[in-house]
């Protein structure tokens, strides 16, 4: 757990020792515990989702949209136990994605923008898990529970699951645009402006998913090269970037209301030495 060590690096007097020991220390003394809690939840659960969806249930990358009913029954048979166990774990842990949304909303609360931004983002993203993920998992669980069900009905559940997963792009589209606008308007320098534009890129890929409602095969189907693979690359880049930037935000956080202090690299420290600095006192 080297990342835990980097977290400790933000506090000069953090103890070294076992992981549990350090967690207890931070729980007692770290004023940013709430923020780090949300951040670690985000990292742990994004990784868990990756494992559950790609390895345990093996429903991602998505199977072809053109499979016929008997192939779909076969598809369910191949994954029977994985689907049931994997989605049970998903049901167990999904609620713990909420701290992620809370942290993202907090980032907007720290900006010099209206509270309307964090609240709308919080509601949009909390609601988005229901159609975007949980309905998929319910449909596939129901499909796997009774392998002897009429193949046509299993086929319907399969469509329901993947259309719900890929086809509910509106919530993410609007969510990204809300975040983008907040960052562009922000004067507290919580995030760099290029990340606002990256939000726009992510929002545009949500538009690109929409042909999945129309095509059953080819690059625009729900498993297509454009609607799934390219979008997935963008999503992974986007997620990695915002996890990194949120970490920087927590490190820089001073619990004030003015501009967030910059991370102090050597160059910046040298620059500060040349001109009198006012922000240094509040930075630590």
């Amino acid at each position: 757990m080297s990342a835990a060590a980097t977290e400790a690096g933000t506090l000069p007097d953090a103890p070294s020792g076992s992981l549990l020991h350090r967690i207890v220390w931070h729980w007692r003394h770290n004023p940013k515990w709430e923020l780090w809690f949300a951040w670690w939840m985000m990292v742990v659960f994004y990784n868990l989702y990756g494992v559950l969806f790609f390895m345990v249930t093996r429903v991602q990358p998505p199977p072809p949209a053109w499979l016929d009913a008997s192939s779909v029954v076969q598809w369910f048979d191949d994954r029977h136990q994985g689907l049931l166990v994997g989605f049970a774990i998903v049901f167990l842990i999904t609620g713990f994605i909420v701290p992620t949304n809370a942290l993202l909303a907090y980032s907007m609360r720290r900006m010099s923008v209206s509270r309307a931004f964090p609240y709308s983002y919080l509601v949009i993203y909390s609601m988005s898990a229901v159609p975007g993920m949980l309905l998929t998992c319910v449909a596939l669980t129901v499909g796997a529970m009774r392998p002897d069900r009429d193949p046509e009905l299993i086929h319907w559940l399969y469509d329901f699951a993947f259309m719900a997963f890929d086809g509910t792009m509106g919530v993410f589209l609007i969510g990204s645009l809300v975040w983008m606008l907040a960052i562009l308007l922000d004067e507290n320098r919580v995030f760099p402006k290029w990340f606002a534009y990256l939000n726009l890129c992510n929002a545009l890929t949500e538009v690109v998913v929409s042909p999945a409602w129309i095509f059953k095969r080819g690059v625009f189907a729900w498993d297509g090269a454009i609607t799934w693979w390219i979008d997935m690359v963008v999503f992974v880049i986007y997620t990695t970037v915002f996890i990194t930037l949120l970490r920087r935000m927590i490190v820089r956080e001073d619990f004030g209301t003015g501009p967030l202090p910059e991370l102090r690299t050597e160059e910046e420290a040298a620059e500060d030495a040349r001109k009198p600095s006012v922000s240094m006192g509040t930075a630590r």
């Binding site: 290029w194 990256l198 890129c201 545009l204 129309i214 080819g218 390219i230």
Partner: protein, 208 residues
């Protein structure tokens, strides 16, 4: 490797006579927010991804693509390209005028840009209506799927471009604002619409 070496290695249009003073020009200045360039490059690579997928699908079924392509009117595509190149030209003039403090001229040029953007918008809508009228829709065949997809996602960038130009007008309008940085950032975005179209034009209308 200096900047000059890479410039000299590639044939260029109209500025051969200015090659001599190139080193003096490389001032290390990025127009507008450097952040916008992150967007431009990200979108550029993303579009390269779309283009490659198009190419890979195309080489598997060249006949279909060639026949469908014959349904498009090359003259409309060329006209579109002219319009966008001209809009890019005027927004570049807007940036230069604003930089020299000639805000009246800058405003005129940004309005010209909006006008050309609007001409492109209308011609694209008419072209789509024409193709749909002939019975070629989004899901008619693979070529038309790509045609509508690429032109529509480009169209979406154009619509966002009008918002961006609105910000530029808002900045230039009042002497209290006039942030040169935002004007240049907006222009960088608008040029992106232009250069992406240049490639889409080549791939959809012209190539064989």
């Amino acid at each position: 490797m200096t900047n000059v070496a890479s410039d000299g290695s590639r044939p260029r249009g109209g500025d051969v006579q200015s090659l001599a003073d190139e080193p003096a020009e490389a001032t290390g200045y990025v127009p507008g927010q450097p952040d916008m360039w992150a967007f431009v490059l990200f979108e550029a690579f993303l579009f390269t991804g779309y283009f490659v997928v198009y190419m890979v699908c195309r080489i598997q079924n060249p006949e279909l693509y060639l026949q469908s392509q014959a349904q498009l009117d090359l003259r409309i595509g060329t006209f579109n390209t002219f319009v966008l190149l001209t809009s890019s030209w005027s927004v570049a003039r807007c940036v230069q005028s604003a930089r020299e403090g000639e805000f009246r001229s800058a405003l005129t040029n940004v309005f010209l840009t909006i006008l050309f953007g609007f001409v492109f918008l209308v011609s694209k809508l008419l072209e789509w209506a024409h193709e749909i009228g002939k019975g070629f829709g989004f899901s008619s065949n693979e070529f038309f799927s790509f045609y509508y997809f690429l032109t529509a996602i480009h169209f979406l960038h154009l619509l966002i471009g009008f918002i961006v130009l609105g910000v530029v007008v808002h900045q230039l309008w009042s002497p209290a604002r006039r942030s040169q940085e935002l004007v240049e950032t907006g222009a960088t975005y608008w040029h992106t619409i232009d250069f992406l179209w240049v490639i889409i034009f080549a791939l959809l209308y012209v190539m064989r």
